[in-house]
């Protein structure tokens, strides 16, 4: 077998050698840290995934040694292969930062921001993404798109309102089960994940859609509202399962198993798909052999509660507020840039509206 040649690629001034056929994103993941673009739709274990969310856009400043021309458009790093001598800019590119901020904003305009009641909070990639790349206020002032909640069978609930249409759950059903019964209906911003006729997702491995979903759109009904993930303690456990590897994370509170998920790697990706029985039925500690605590990945609030690497935030509250003193902490207008902080919100009747921030209109004479 011919050996795959190694390609040199420079990402944000760091050079690394990777086998030909590696994507820019995977090369950046080998470097790790801030250089790695965020990925909301790509999933290394799912064929054809990626390319959709556009959070991983990077600038290619030089295509290759052979053809050093820059690429005119930003490219999706998850779907673009490296070439020998390629020079990529991620955090060192202003264009990328600008486009990424745009993508984050787009992903959030119709998102319900219902983190306080969402089971995904604390392990949500959209939360992480907005924290790292989002703005502090919103410029969207229309009512958001809403969908009804759906039960997809006894175990899985779909909150379409939270979905970012990454298509991962569709690929899971395509690639792990023999017959997909859900998919994307309609198109554009009215597209939705659905079974068309209300149907249960019924397959031994369909529970994995919950693990791949980057947001709280697909959640585990057996864990619904039971606890916040950061109050639970993940441990590695295994069992002898006839259907899957039986290697899981148990999410415990005391001796109680609150939730079972697949094990995830540092990029939040499932290591081994697990079956529904392990996920939903084995909630007794006696079903499992505990192997030890989970080393929680870099961007999780879960690690803040329990284990190594405890970090204090480096900004204090007064620093964040930057001299402003809002009436209420909920008062997002006073920290947002679009709306002028000088406007006295207390003087406005009802919710503030963009016109309240315009220069005063000519008075209409009321004589």
């Amino acid at each position: 077998m011919a050996e795959t040649p190694l390609f040199k690629v420079t990402i944000d001034n760091i050079t690394i050698e990777v086998p030909a056929g590696t994507t820019i994103l995977n090369a950046a993941r080998q470097i790790g840290g801030d250089v790695t673009p965020p990925a909301m739709c790509y999933y290394s274990k799912l064929k054809n995934s990626g390319g959709k969310c556009r959070t991983c856009l990077v600038e290619v400043a030089a295509g290759s040694t052979a053809d050093p021309r820059p690429m005119p458009k930003l490219v999706a790093s998850c779907r673009t292969n490296v070439m020998d001598g390629m020079i990529v800019k991620n955090i060192t590119s202003e264009r990328v930062q600008d486009a990424r901020a745009g993508v984050v904003e787009f992903l959030l305009i119709n998102h319900p921001l219902d983190c306080p009641v969402c089971d995904q909070a604390g392990e949500c990639h959209l939360q992480d993404l907005s924290y790292e790349h989002g703005a502090e206020g919103t410029r969207f002032e229309f009512s958001k798109r809403i969908f009804k909640k759906h039960d997809l069978g006894p175990y899985i609930q779909l909150h379409m309102t939270r979905c970012i249409l990454c298509y991962r759950c569709v690929f899971v059903a395509d690639q792990l089960t023999n017959k997909r019964v859900h998919g994307v209906l309609d198109r554009g911003d009215h597209a939705e994940i659905a079974t068309h006729i209300e149907k249960a997702l019924d397959n031994d491995f369909i529970g994995n859609v919950i693990d791949v979903c980057p947001v709280g759109a697909l959640t585990d009904k057996t864990f619904r509202f039971k606890n916040r993930v950061w109050f639970t303690k993940p441990v590695n456990a295994s069992c002898n399962c006839s259907k899957c590897s039986g290697k899981v994370h148990l999410w415990m509170r005391g001796d109680e198993v609150l939730r079972v998920t697949a094990r995830k790697d540092e990029w939040g990706e499932v290591e081994d798909w697990i079956c529904n029985e392990c996920r939903f039925e084995r909630k007794d500690i006696k079903d499992w052999t505990i192997e030890g605590p989970v080393k929680v990945n870099r961007h999780s609030v879960i690690s803040q509660g329990h284990y190594v690497g405890l970090k204090k935030p480096n900004e204090t509250f007064s620093k964040v507020m930057n001299g402003r003193n809002p009436r209420l902490l909920m008062d997002i207008h006073s920290v947002s840039e679009v709306n002028k902080p000088g406007v006295n919100l207390a003087a406005i009747k009802g919710p503030a509206h963009s016109t309240d921030f315009d220069p005063p209109k000519k008075e209409i004479s009321n004589e």
């Binding site: 390319g51 969310c53 298509y167 994307v184």
Partner: protein, 449 residues
């Protein structure tokens, strides 16, 4: 009268049917082509300088020469008849009145590309046209132009008509291919390009109806002769579907040497602005291309006459120019409101976005909402800047060009008609009552009676 290569026989009664079409010189290009080698035909098309008529204007001969030819893998030609761009209706005219011209072009092109199974993907809304095409295919087959061993050349070819289900996005070539395969019409992420992996992972060429019809005159007269018509890299003739506030809307075949002014005002073409009004603005190449105010439409920024061809229409880039696009020529008179029209277009793109990528899915909806707000007199000045910022963040950051196509009209409207947006903000009541904008963009010329 300009040269006519495609529509020259459109007026002949019964030209839709095989016998009449054949009697008037139809299918001679197939006879000629099958005696040549496929490579020689590709060469002829290259020489002709023909550029894709679907919107992007990519040189057709070059596209054909890119098709991969792996051993033992079938190749396919797909005719893009999805024509859904607002303002564009030239392919419909061709298929409806000259179906055999398209079939003839398809046979020659299939031979050149080695496609034994060729598809016409037609938009679902053209409900009556598949019957016309299927009848033409049946007639061609009955007369030995399709099927096995055509004219004893050893070349087999079948043409199949596939209807779409009414989605603009299925005109994008990779979405079209997905849809043709029976899947959801989402554009694919490129690479791989269709020339390498298209329909069923086989090398595929997708071409517009008009492009493939133009292969017939190219074969008949030779590539070099074809290239002599027109100017510069705009060779041959182009179909323009003209609509809006003009006296004679319709499909016109032009050679690309006439000026925009002549096209709008001459009796041969649009016949001037309707109802004695003045010209205000025009979208010269289908709804996706930038709108131009009258002054920049008739003359370039340098003050030169603007012509109806690829180079001249795009002279000045997007700052002061536009694009030939698909040839959908939409004319606005002085009473038309740019804000309202931009809102209408934004609604279209929002509705037609496939929803795969976040900037297009969310951005198109957001732009529509803001435009509606401004149009109904509820907008504010910051909305205009916000709109600009949103389109900027969509453009270039999406999977397929629909994102750009949604961003460009908004960008051009703000670029050239910003004061009209501001007028809407400043005159909320009047803009609801009157709902048209500022007339001072109108061409100053006296009305042609």
């Amino acid at each position: 009268m300009g040269v006519k290569l495609l529509l020259d026989k459109a007026h002949i009664e019964g030209i839709r049917y095989y016998d009449t079409y054949r009697k008037n010189g139809g299918y001679t290009s197939v006879e000629k082509a099958l005696k040549m080698s496929p490579e020689a035909i590709v060469e002829e098309v290259k020489k002709s300088g023909l550029r894709g008529r679907g919107g992007a204007g990519f040189p057709t001969g070059m596209k054909w020469s890119f098709i991969a030819k792996p051993e033992g893998v079938p190749r396919h030609l797909v005719c893009n008849a999805d024509e859904s761009e607002p303002g564009t209706f030239k392919d419909r005219y061709l298929m409806e009145f000259l179906p055999h011209l398209l079939i003839e072009g398809l046979i020659v092109s299939s031979y050149a590309l080695g496609s034994n199974a060729t598809y016409i993907y037609i938009r679902g809304e053209y409900a009556w046209i598949p019957d016309i095409l299927e009848q033409a295919i049946a007639e061609a087959k009955a007369n030995g132009w399709l099927g096995k061993n055509i004219l004893n050349s050893g070349f087999d070819c079948e043409i199949y008509v596939q209807r779409g289900a009414g989605a603009y996005i299925c005109g994008e070539e990779t979405a079209l291919i997905e849809s043709l395969e029976g899947k959801r019409g989402n554009p694919r992420i490129k690479p791989p390009f269709p020339a390498v992996k298209g329909v069923w992972e086989r090398p595929t060429v997708v071409n517009n109806v008009e492009t493939l019809a133009a292969v017939v005159p190219i074969m008949n007269m030779g590539g070099e002769e074809y290239a002599k018509i027109g100017v510069g890299r705009s060779t041959g003739t182009k179909l323009i579907s003209a609509c809006g506030n003009i006296n004679k809307p319709g499909v016109y075949e032009i050679d690309m040497t006439i000026s925009v002014e002549e096209f709008i005002y001459s009796e041969e073409y649009c016949g001037g602005i309707a109802n004695g009004k003045r010209l205000k603005a025009c979208i010269p190449g289908g709804s996706s291309v930038p709108v131009l105010p009258a002054n920049l439409l008739l003359k370039t920024a340098k003050g030169e006459t603007r012509y109806m061809n690829y180079e001249s229409l795009s002279d000045g880039g997007f700052a002061t120019g536009s694009m030939m696009g698909s040839g959908g020529f939409i004319v606005y008179d002085e009473d038309q409101c740019i804000v309202k029209n931009t809102y209408t277009l934004a609604r279209f793109y929002r509705h037609e976005s496939c929803g795969q990528c976040s900037p297009c899915r969310e951005g198109t909806g957001w732009m529509e909402k803001i435009l509606k707000k401004i149009d109904t007199g509820k907008g504010s000045h910051s909305d205009i800047d916000l709109l600009w910022d949103i389109q900027r963040k969509i453009e270039g950051n999406t999977i397929c060009p629909l994102g750009d196509a949604a961003a460009w009209p908004v960008a051009a409207a703000i670029r050239h008609f910003r004061d009209e947006f501001e007028w809407h903000v400043n005159n909320p009541e009047e803009c609801l009552r009157r709902n048209y904008g500022l007339a001072h963009y109108a061409d100053e010329r006296a009305v042609i009676a």
